[in-house]
């Protein structure tokens, strides 16, 4: 079952994290990884080992903000929220991604 899943492309994890956080309130790391896999209908597989370094990196960039809160099951968890500059960054990266994928698509069709 794992074989059928696609590993994430280098650099796209950040984009997906930002996008996931945009459409919801604060989420913890587990929920982010679950949400990505769920929305991608289990096609994408998040490398959990690189999820947390990515989250921390985004936090250092100031695009997301972390706070300790209580999870739905009453456990202490670290919740991440998109910041204003994160929203702008997402817009930029979404744009870039769309241009890139459109370009690749065109090349694939033409060639």
């Amino acid at each position: 079952m794992a074989q059928s899943k696609l590993d994430l492309l280098q650099g796209t994890l950040d984009l997906l994290i930002l996008r996931t956080l945009e459409s919801s309130q604060a989420l913890h790391g587990w929920a982010i990884s679950e949400r990505i896999e769920q929305i991608s209908q289990d096609v994408l597989r998040v490398n959990q080992g690189s999820l947390y370094p990515a989250l921390h990196r985004l936090e250092h960039q100031g695009w997301i903000k972390a706070e300790w809160g209580v999870s739905e099951l009453g456990r202490r968890a670290r919740f991440y929220r998109l910041t204003l500059s994160g929203r702008k960054q997402l817009e930029l990266e979404t744009n870039d991604w769309e241009r890139l994928s459109a370009a690749i698509g065109r090349v694939l069709k033409m060639a």
Partner: protein, 870 residues
């Protein structure tokens, strides 16, 4: 790096434990959630947890990646290195103390020198906007500077050209209240233009210098007020007699202000008082302007050149301006290539001592690194990066350099204090009184220098050992062999040879200077200084003082002289004999007939002047032996005619004989008129003058010269207050001439001594280490029948080899340096063979002495005991 990043990094650094805890918590939560999901899928709890971990991947790897994001590893690993190094230091306090002491000594001496350099050359003067101050002068075609008169200054001020404001000053030596003091006559805008306020009373105002002779006031310098007037709170309003003229103190200038020159004056008085303070003398003004805002230096130079050329267009050629000189007055001494060149031998010598200290410490660190070879080898074979290890070893060096820097600061303060004290203790006493106590406070520049020097030395002494000791072969280290592949001896030998080289160089140079200073004291100056005084009188009291001196019992003889001997170059003349066209440059002086007698200068041929000739201003001359031989190589000089011409290139406004041709009446032995380092005079020609005329007086006195001087001063000061401007024994003029060379010899001896000590300990260290390394070999040699004498020789030979190479290199360097300086230091025999021999012998003796104790130890090696080790 943005704000969030910085904050998070700082948090990561200071709340490291908490950040780690949070990372743990966060990952654990993830794993638990993951396990829960697996459990919900039907796995047992253990299996669920295992699957969660498998799904997550390397947990420690993820943690490490998160830490990398935190960006604090560099700091953290450095902190770990520091802790590690400090633990090591605690185990060997003696080592640390030696290193810190050695480096502190080197750093301290260099910082002391830099403090002096910085104070005079780098530190801006404590006046308003010092960088816009420029001194201005113009020069004629042959390069001699124009002598600025009051009229020149007025004209410059009226043009309003290039400068927003100009001022003029003139230096004035004289006695104030019976003590030699120096003053500066200044224009009324001096203090306002420099923005210097008063610590007490007020400073001079333009109104104080409105009309000639109207305002007899003065401002004291702070340091003079404190040191010479005991910080007298009632000083303002008091009258002080300067050159016989009472001036009222109106204030004390602010602390730290000592004028714009390197010899700070004791007081400032209005330039309009010049007529009273030095009647009859022509002014020679020093002009300083403040560059107008928006003007560049080259613009100002061009504009002033045009102006000066216009002003002097109608004057005879030698007075025409050909170029202008515009020099910054931002610091006491302008930073120029000449200043750097003058300072560089000193800086090099001091720097070499620091280098020696670094070499010593590098040697010690190498020995220590060899002892730690096992530890380093193990760490390397466990996968520690070499770069990382070098960084750790350099951290250690920096940690040693920092306390060394702090201790070095204390050394620098101590040596400056000692140096200043020594200077005042050894300076000729009259000079010591004229120089105000110099204050050399450390400033930011000094601290920055200290820090950089400390870090540079840390790298100098730390880098080679760090690189060398991490070169261990991992394969060998893993087998437990830690020394076979490392050849530190070559590096250590190179260091010691370097030390011996530098030491030999410094000692030879010191030897040359010591011999030079001694030589200078023995130089035949051609006249008698013992029991001779010179006096400068104010003109109005001259006849009365002369008649008093004539009957004073202590005075054996009086002579008048235009230029006192040993007080600098004499004005030049162009002379020729009547019958030959060839001209000769000759110095000239005006002396009264008694001069040759009072100074005991033998008249070799002919006679001195007669009183009648002097009184009548007869066209006669006495010439020096050299002049006689130059003009009349074969014939008799006495009776010959000399044609005299003014030298346009050396026009100092000195009085000239009124006639064009003179008759030689006598030939006097050569003397040294200028200064001892300058050496014997070129051709010299004396013209007659009278006691009553002008010039200084030379007195030959009976008994102790100091006692006589004191008695004369107290008599003259009560009878004719202000008549005596200066009175100094000629012995002091002589001492002052050789003083700089004595100082150079002392500084050289100190540095040479330190170099010798450092080299001694360097050789000792290397040989001791060598013995430890070769214990087995020596043991075998002895077991095979080598005598203790042979073993001792083995060690001495090792030292001798190092010494031979080092001494050869040092001597070669010294010869090179000598060649470099030979043309500049004519008074020193830079190729003095005695100095070279002595320096070489000293170094060789020291090398053998340093080898003696290690060689004794080698000779005592017990062959049985050493062989039993294996």
């Amino acid at each position: 790096m943005n704000r969030h990043d910085l904050l998070l990094r700082i948090r990561g650094l200071f709340l490291r434990r908490r950040a780690e805890q949070e990372l743990d918590d966060e990952l654990r939560f993830h794993l638990e959630m993951s396990a829960q999901k697996n459990a919900a899928g039907g796995a047992s709890s253990e299996e669920a947890a295992r699957l969660a971990r498998v799904r997550f991947g390397g947990i420690d790897r993820a943690k490490e990646d998160c830490r990398t994001v935190r960006g604090t590893q560099l700091v953290e690993s450095t902190l770990r290195d520091i802790q590690y190094a400090l633990r090591g230091f605690r185990r060997s306090p003696l080592f640390v103390l030696t290193v810190v002491g050695t480096i502190a000594l080197g750093l301290g001496l260099n910082t002391a020198l830099f403090t002096i350099f910085s104070t005079y050359v780098l530190r801006p003067l404590s006046v308003h906007d010092p960088s816009s101050l420029y001194s201005f002068a113009w020069a004629n075609r042959s390069g001699s500077e124009h002598r600025f008169s009051w009229r020149d200054f007025e004209k410059l001020r009226e043009t309003n050209l290039a400068f927003s404001e100009v001022m003029a000053t003139e230096y004035l030596f004289g006695r104030m209240d019976g003590r030699p003091m120096s003053g500066e006559l200044v224009t009324g805008n001096y203090f306002k233009m420099l923005g210097v306020s008063a610590a007490r009373g007020r400073t001079l105002l333009p109104e104080d210098a409105a009309a000639p002779g109207k305002d007899p006031v003065m401002v004291l310098s702070y340091i003079t007020w404190r040191n010479k007037f005991g910080s007298d709170p009632n000083i303002v309003g008091k009258k002080l007699v300067v050159r016989g003229y009472p001036l009222q103190v109106i204030g004390v200038a602010k602390e730290g202000f000592g004028g714009l020159v390197s010899a700070p004056p004791d007081y400032w008085a209005p330039l309009t008082m010049a007529g009273q303070l030095e009647p009859g003398a022509d002014l020679r003004l020093w002009i300083i302007g403040r560059l107008q805002p928006g003007w560049s230096l080259s613009q100002a130079r061009a504009a002033l050149a045009i102006w000066a050329k216009q002003e002097t267009a109608d004057l005879p050629d030698p007075e025409k301006a050909a170029s202008v000189i515009l020099q910054s007055n931002a610091t006491t001494i302008r930073l120029s290539p000449q200043v750097i060149i003058a300072f560089s031998p000193l800086m090099t010598a001091f720097g070499l001592v620091l280098l020696l200290a670094c070499a010593n410490v590098a040697n010690m660190l190498l020995a220590r690194a060899m002892a730690r070879q096992r530890e380093i080898g193990i760490r390397l074979s466990l996968g520690a990066g070499r770069r990382r290890l070098i960084r750790q070893l350099l951290t250690e060096s920096v940690l040693l350099a920092i306390p060394a820097g702090l201790a070095g600061f204390l050394v620098s303060r101590g040596s400056i204090d000692l140096g200043v004290r020594a200077m005042f203790a050894t300076l000729p006493s009259d000079m010591a009184e004229l120089i105000p106590a110099v204050s050399l406070p450390p400033d930011v520049r000094v601290f920055v220098f200290m820090l950089i020097a400390a870090l540079v030395s840390a790298f100098l002494f730390g880098l080679a050992p760090a690189i060398q000791s991490t070169r261990a072969n991992v394969m060998l280290a893993a087998r437990g062999e830690f020394t076979s592949d490392v050849r530190p001896m070559r590096l250590r030998n190179a260091l010691v040879i370097g030390q011996i080289t530098v030491c030999a160089l410094l000692l030879i140079c010191t030897g040359v200077m010591i011999r030079g200073a001694r030589e200078m004291r023995n130089v035949e100056i051609g006249f008698r200084t013992r029991g001779t005084l010179f006096i400068e009188l104010s003109d109005k009291d001259r006849p009365k003082v002369l008649s008093h001196l004539a009957i004073a019992p202590a005075v054996e003889g009086i002579a008048a002289v235009q230029s006192i001997p040993l007080d600098g170059m004499l004005p030049n003349l162009i002379i020729s004999t009547g019958d030959r066209p060839r001209t000769v440059n000759a110095w000239h002086n005006h002396v009264s007939p008694e001069f040759f007698n009072v100074l005991e200068i033998p008249i070799l041929e002919g006679r001195s002047f007669t009183r009648e000739e002097a009184a009548a201003g007869a066209p006669v001359a006495v010439i020096s032996e050299l002049a006689a031989r130059t003009l009349w190589p074969k014939a008799d000089a006495v009776g010959g005619q000399i044609r005299v011409q003014r030298d346009p290139q050396s026009d100092w406004g000195e009085p000239l004989p009124k006639y064009r041709a003179v008759r030689v009446v006598g030939v006097a032995r050569n003397i040294i008129s200028c200064s001892i380092p300058y050496g014997p005079d070129p051709a010299l020609i004396y013209f007659p003058s009278t006691l009553a005329g002008s010039g200084s007086l030379m007195l030959r006195v009976r008994g102790d010269v100091e006692t006589v001087r004191r008695a004369l001063v107290s008599d003259l000061d009560t009878m004719f207050p202000g008549a005596v401007n200066q009175i100094h024994p000629m012995d002091q003029a002589f001492e002052l001439n050789v003083y700089p060379f004595r100082v150079a010899a002392w500084v050289g001896s100190t540095l040479g001594g330190l170099a010798l000590l450092l080299t001694l300990s360097g050789i000792y260290g290397v040989l001791s280490y060598l013995i430890t390394q070769r214990t087995k070999e020596i043991g075998i040699r002895m077991a095979l029948g080598a005598t203790t004498g042979e073993v001792t020789r083995l060690v001495l030979r090792q030292s001798g080899r190092l010494a031979a190479v080092g001494v050869a290199l040092g001597t070669a360097l010294a010869l090179g340096v000598s060649r470099l300086f030979a043309s500049h230091l004519v008074f020193l025999n830079t190729f003095d063979s005695v100095a070279y021999t002595a320096g070489v012998m000293l170094v060789v003796a020291a090398s053998l002495a340093a080898a003696y104790f290690p060689s004794r130890r080698a000779a005592r090696i017990d062959p049985i005991a050493t062989l039993r080790y294996d």
